[in-house]
C-alpha cells in the first residue's frame, strides 16, 4: 500500500491533529502494510481509546469502501504532506493534518478575509455584514466563514449573491451539515466556492469541534473582520486565536449600549485590532484601489423622500407612512421597487434600511 493510501485510511478515524503529526513524523516510509497498526510505536502514538477501531478495520475492504465514498461525494482529501495544502495554514499553531474539501482548491492561496460575528446579529449587524461582504467580494477577496447562523451565513450568502468566491469551514463532517437549515447554502458554496472541514464525512459536530473549526477560519485568512460580537462567544475564541498567530484583526464599532457590540468595541478600545469604518479601510491593506462605489441613482421625488427618511438609520413602515405623508399603497410599492433595485433592504418586522 502506498503512503497516500495509508494516509487516506488513517484519515477516516478523526485522530487529533497532534497525534497525526507525531504519527507521520515517525512513520516516514513510502510503503505501508496494514500490519503496521499492530506495531508498539503505532499503538503508543494513537492511544488506547482509538486503537481497537483502527485494528478492527485494518483491511483492504474497509479502505476501498471509504475511498469509494469519498469519490462518490466528490470529496478531495488534502493532507499536510500535499502541495495543495494551504500555505497560510502551515504557519499556524496546531495546523490540521487533513482537510476534506469540496470545490475549488485554488481559492486557498487567494487574498482572503474571514468575516465572523454573532449568530444573532441586530439589524445593524446584518447591514454592516452585508455591506462589507458585498464590497470585499466584489473587489475579488475571498470571504471565509463558518456557515453558522447569523453573520456567518449572511457573509456567505451576500458573497455568492455578488458573484464572489467564498470558503465555508464546517465544524463537522460532510454527511450531516450543521445547522441543517444551511444544507442548501453548503451545496451552493461547494458549487461556486469551497467547502472544507478537518473532520471525516461521518463525524458529527460536537461542542468541542466548533472552536477547532474557528482556528481554521482564522488560519486560512489574511485578516479577520468582526462585524458584531458580544463579549462571550465563539467569535472571541477566533479573535484570540488570530491574535496569538499574528493574523490581523478588523473590528466594526457599535453602539456602546448594545451588548451585541461589546466584543467589537472591546477590540477597538484595547487596540487588539484595527477599527474599520468602511470596506475601503480593509481594501487599502490589500493594496486594492478605492472602489468607486457611489453609484449615481436615478430617483423619483417620492423615492428620494423615503431615502432621506432612512438616512439616519432603520425605520419601520409605520414611521415611514407617518412622515412621508403618502398613500399607503404607493408607499408599499415604492418600498418594494427600491428593494428590488438593491437600494434599501427589508428586515423582519417590516423594518427598512439603506444598504
Amino acid at each position: 500500500m502506498t503512503r497516500k493510501d495509508f494516509l487516506t485510511f488513517i484519515s477516516s478515524f478523526d485522530l487529533s491533529c497532534k497525534k497525526l503529526h507525531n504519527l507521520f513524523d515517525f512513520f516516514d516510509q513510502d510503503a505501508f502494510s496494514f500490519d503496521v497498526v499492530f506495531d508498539k510505536e503505532f499503538i503508543d502514538i494513537v492511544g488506547k481509546e482509538n486503537i481497537n477501531k483502527i485494528q478492527q478495520n485494518a483491511n483492504e475492504n474497509y479502505l476501498n469502501k471509504y475511498k469509494e465514498k469519498l469519490f462518490d461525494k466528490s470529496i478531495k482529501l488534502v493532507s499536510f504532506e500535499d502541495n495543495s495544502y494551504p500555505k497560510k495554514l502551515r504557519n499556524i499553531y496546531d495546523p490540521p493534518f487533513f482537510l476534506f474539501c469540496k470545490g475549488d482548491l485554488a481559492l486557498f492561496d487567494d487574498n482572503s478575509i474571514a468575516i465572523i460575528g454573532t449568530r444573532m446579529p441586530s439589524n445593524y449587524g446584518k447591514i454592516v455584514t452585508e455591506r462589507f461582504a458585498k464590497e470585499l467580494s466584489v473587489a475579488g477577496i475571498v470571504i471565509i466563514s463558518g456557515l453558522a447562523y447569523g453573520v456567518d451565513s449572511i457573509s456567505h450568502r451576500q458573497c455568492l449573491l455578488s458573484g464572489g468566491k467564498t470558503i465555508a469551514v464546517l465544524g463537522g463532517g460532510f454527511d450531516k451539515i450543521y445547522p441543517s437549515e444551511h444544507t442548501d447554502l453548503a451545496r451552493e458554496v461547494s458549487e461556486k466556492g469551497l467547502l472544507i472541514t478537518e473532520f471525516s464525512p461521518s463525524f458529527v459536530a460536537t461542542k468541542y469541534s466548533f472552536p477547532l473549526r474557528n482556528r481554521i477560519v482564522a488560519g486560512l485568512s489574511d485578516g479577520v473582520l468582526i462585524t458584531e460580537a458580544g463579549s462571550k462567544s465563539g467569535t472571541i475564541i477566533t479573535k484570540d486565536f488570530a491574535l496569538d498567530n499574528g493574523i490581523k484583526i478588523y473590528a466594526v464599532p457599535g453602539n456602546i449600549t448594545s451588548p451585541k457590540s461589546e466584543g467589537t468595541n472591546y477590540i477597538i478600545a484595547y487596540s487588539q485590532g484595527q477599527c474599520v469604518l468602511s470596506p475601503n479601510d480593509i481594501l487599502q491593506d490589500f493594496g486594492i484601489k478605492k472602489s468607486s462605489y457611489k453609484k449615481s441613482l436615478q430617483l423619483s421625488i417620492d423615492e428620494q423622500i423615503i431615502l432621506n427618511l432612512l438616512e439616519d438609520g432603520e425605520k419601520n413602515v409605520e414611521f415611514l407612512f407617518e412622515k412621508a405623508k403618502m398613500e399607503v399603497n404607493k408607499l408599499n410599492s415604492l418600498l418594494v421597487s427600491l428593494e428590488i433595485r438593491g437600494i434599501i433592504k427589508k428586515m423582519a418586522g417590516d423594518v427598512y434600511s439603506t444598504i
Binding site: F321, V328, N329, N332, V336, A348, G349
Partner: protein
C-alpha cells in the same frame, strides 16, 4: 290500525323524508321504536307517553310499534317526537285517524320535540328541513312555535307554529284555525357585523389596514405576524365590519348550518351578518372540522361565508392545521365516519395570527428577542408549506407607539373602507358572472392566466423581484391574484407595475425571514 305521518331528519346539511309508521295490536302493553334511532329517539317513548296522557288523551294499553322509514339511515335527535305522538294517537283514536287521511292533512310534515306536559319545544335544523322538503314538493309544515322565525324567509310554503300537542291535534281536526307564518323581506334584516368594533378605533397600523382592505376586497386569506400586544386580535375583530353584506342565498346557506348546529338566534331566525368564528387553539380537530358521534358542523363550517380567525396559529396542533387544507382549497369539508359520510360547506376566509418567535419579540423595534435562531426556525416551520400556499397575504405588525395611541387624529371608519371594498367586489361579480360566489382569491389556474395578464413592465418587475428578493416559487400565483385585487380596488382594468410591487410587499414569509 296503521297510520303514516311525515317528518324529516337531517343528513349533513340536507333534510331527508322520514315516514313515521305506527300501529298497535292487542297484547301485553309494550312500546317499541325501530328504524335505527339513536338514544334520543329511543327515549322518545317516555316523552310521548306522558305528553299524551298530560294532554288529556287516552294512552293505548296495547303493544305499540313505531317504525321510522327508511329504516337503514341513522336518525338522531328529537325532531320526530311530534310526528310519533300524532301517529300513535291516530293508530288508537278513530277521529284523528280519519282526520289524518283527510286530503287537507295528508301531506303535512310534523317536526317538534315533546315535553312531558304535552308542550312542543324548539328543535335544531328547521331551515334546512324546510328547504329540502320544499324541493321534494311538500307545502305544509307544522313546526314548534319557537322555530317560526326561521321559517319566515322561505316562500312558497305554509308553515304553522304550534306550542303543544293538544293544539296540534285541534289543528288537524279542524277545531282550531292557525295562520301560516308571513314571509319577511331579507333586505329589512340584513346587517353588517359591528359590535361597536370599527377601524376608526385602530390607531396607526396603516399597512395592516390596507392589507385587510385588500383581503376583504378579494377574499384573500391573511396571516398576521407580530409581537404580543401589537393589535393583531383587534385588527382581526374589526375585519368583519368591512366585509361586503351577504346576499340572501349566502345568508340562507349560513343559517342552515347554524340551525343544524343549534347556534341560531331563534328570535331572529336568520344569520344576516357574516359569521366571525374564533375557536381557541386547544380546540380538538373534530370540533373544527365537524362530524363526531352526533354529526354536527364544526367551527370551519360555522364560519362559512364569513371569517375564521385562528389566534396564535402555531399553537394549534399540527394535525388540526393540516386538516384545513382541503376546505381552504375546495370550500367544503367531507367528514367520513364508519356510520356515514357527510359534507358540510366550509368556504371561509382564514385570518391567522402568530408571534414571529417563541418569545414574541423577534423583529420588534423596542424589545429584544431572546430566542436562538434554531428556535425561531422551528417555530416558523410549524406552519407548513402547503398551508402557506393557501394564504395570499402576510402582514407584519409592530407595536404602536404611545403617542399614536393618544393621538386625536381621526382614522378612517369601516364604513368608508367598506364602500371601496364593495366597489371592488362588484367588478369581480361582473368578471366572474358565470360562477357562484366567486372572488379573486378563488381563481383557478386557467382563470388566473386569463384575468391576470401582465404587461412587459410587470413581467420584468416580477422577474427582478424573484431574483433579488429570493421569493419562493409558490408566491407567483398568489402575487398575481393579490395584484388583481389591488387593481380592482384602484378601478384599473389592467394590472400595473405598482400593483405588482404592492402585492410583493405582502409576501414576507416567502422570503428568508431570518
Amino acid at each position: 290500525m296503521l297510520t303514516k305521518v311525515k317528518s324529516f331528519g337531517l343528513l349533513g346539511i340536507d333534510g331527508f323524508l322520514v315516514e313515521v309508521e305506527s300501529d298497535t295490536i292487542n297484547g301485553l302493553p309494550k312500546f317499541d321504536v325501530v328504524g335505527l334511532g339513536d338514544t334520543t329517539v329511543k327515549e322518545a317513548k317516555e316523552r310521548i307517553r306522558f305528553a299524551i296522557i298530560n294532554s288529556g288523551f287516552n294512552y293505548p294499553q296495547k303493544k305499540i310499534t313505531i317504525n321510522l322509514a327508511p329504516a337503514d339511515i341513522k336518525k338522531e335527535g328529537a325532531n320526530y317526537d311530534l310526528a310519533m305522538a300524532i301517529g300513535l294517537l291516530g293508530a288508537s283514536e278513530n277521529s284523528i285517524q280519519s282526520a289524518l287521511l283527510f286530503e287537507r292533512n295528508k301531506d303535512i310534515v310534523f317536526i317538534g320535540e315533546l315535553s312531558l306536559d304535552g308542550g312542543v319545544k324548539k328543535v335544531k335544523g328547521v331551515l334546512p328541513i324546510l328547504i329540502s322538503a320544499r324541493k321534494l314538493g311538500f307545502k305544509k309544515f307544522v313546526i314548534p312555535k319557537d322555530n317560526l322565525a326561521e321559517a319566515g324567509f322561505i316562500s312558497g310554503v305554509e308553515v304553522f307554529g304550534v306550542s303543544s300537542l293538544k293544539e296540534t291535534i285541534d289543528f288537524i281536526l279542524g277545531r282550531k284555525n292557525l295562520l301560516p307564518v308571513e314571509v319577511k323581506d331579507y333586505q329589512s334584516v340584513v346587517s353588517t357585523v359591528n359590535d361597536g368594533l370599527d377601524f376608526c378605533f385602530v390607531k396607526g397600523q396603516a399597512k395592516a389596514k390596507r392589507a385587510l382592505e385588500i383581503a376583504a376586497a378579494g377574499g384573500h386569506n391573511v396571516i398576521m405576524i407580530g409581537p404580543p400586544g401589537s393589535g393583531k386580535s383587534m385588527l382581526a375583530k374589526c375585519f368583519p365590519s368591512i366585509l361586503p353584506d351577504m346576499t340572501f342565498e349566502e345568508a340562507l346557506e349560513v343559517t342552515k348550518i347554524h340551525s343544524i348546529a343549534g347556534e341560531l338566534d331563534y328570535k331572529k331566525g336568520i344569520v344576516s351578518s357574516r359569521p366571525f368564528r374564533t375557536p381557541h387553539h386547544t380546540s380538538s380537530t373534530v370540533s373544527l372540522t365537524g362530524g363526531g358521534t352526533f354529526s354536527k358542523p364544526g367551527e370551519i363550517s360555522l364560519a362559512h361565508n364569513g371569517v375564521l380567525y385562528l389566534d396564535e396559529f402555531p399553537e394549534y396542533s399540527r394535525h388540526t392545521i393540516e386538516t384545513l387544507r382541503q376546505p381552504l382549497e375546495d370550500g367544503v369539508i367531507t367528514v367520513a365516519r364508519s356510520a356515514l359520510t357527510v359534507t358540510y360547506p366550509a368556504s371561509f376566509m382564514l385570518i391567522a395570527s402568530m408571534n414571529p418567535c417563541p418569545c414574541g419579540n423577534f423583529g420588534s423595534k423596542d424589545r429584544e428577542c431572546k430566542c436562538t435562531p434554531h428556535q425561531i426556525h422551528k417555530y416558523l416551520a410549524k406552519i407548513s408549506g402547503p398551508i402557506l400556499d393557501r394564504i395570499d397575504i402576510h402582514i407584519e405588525v409592530d407595536n404602536v407607539k404611545f403617542d399614536d395611541l393618544r393621538s386625536d387624529l381621526q382614522e378612517e371608519s369601516s364604513e368608508t373602507i367598506k364602500q371601496r371594498v364593495d366597489k371592488a367586489r362588484q367588478i369581480q361579480i361582473k368578471r366572474f358572472s358565470n360562477f357562484k360566489n366567486y372572488c379573486n382569491a378563488k381563481m383557478s389556474v386557467p382563470a388566473t392566466k386569463k384575468y391576470c395578464k401582465l404587461s412587459q413592465d410587470c413581467e420584468n418587475l416580477l422577474r427582478m423581484a424573484f431574483e433579488k428578493l429570493k421569493l419562493s416559487a409558490r408566491a407567483h400565483d398568489r402575487i398575481l391574484k393579490v395584484a388583481r385585487t389591488i387593481a380592482d380596488l384602484a378601478g384599473e382594468e389592467n394590472i400595473l407595475p405598482e400593483h405588482i410591487a404592492e402585492a410583493i410587499s405582502f409576501r414576507s414569509l416567502d422570503r428568508k425571514y431570518l
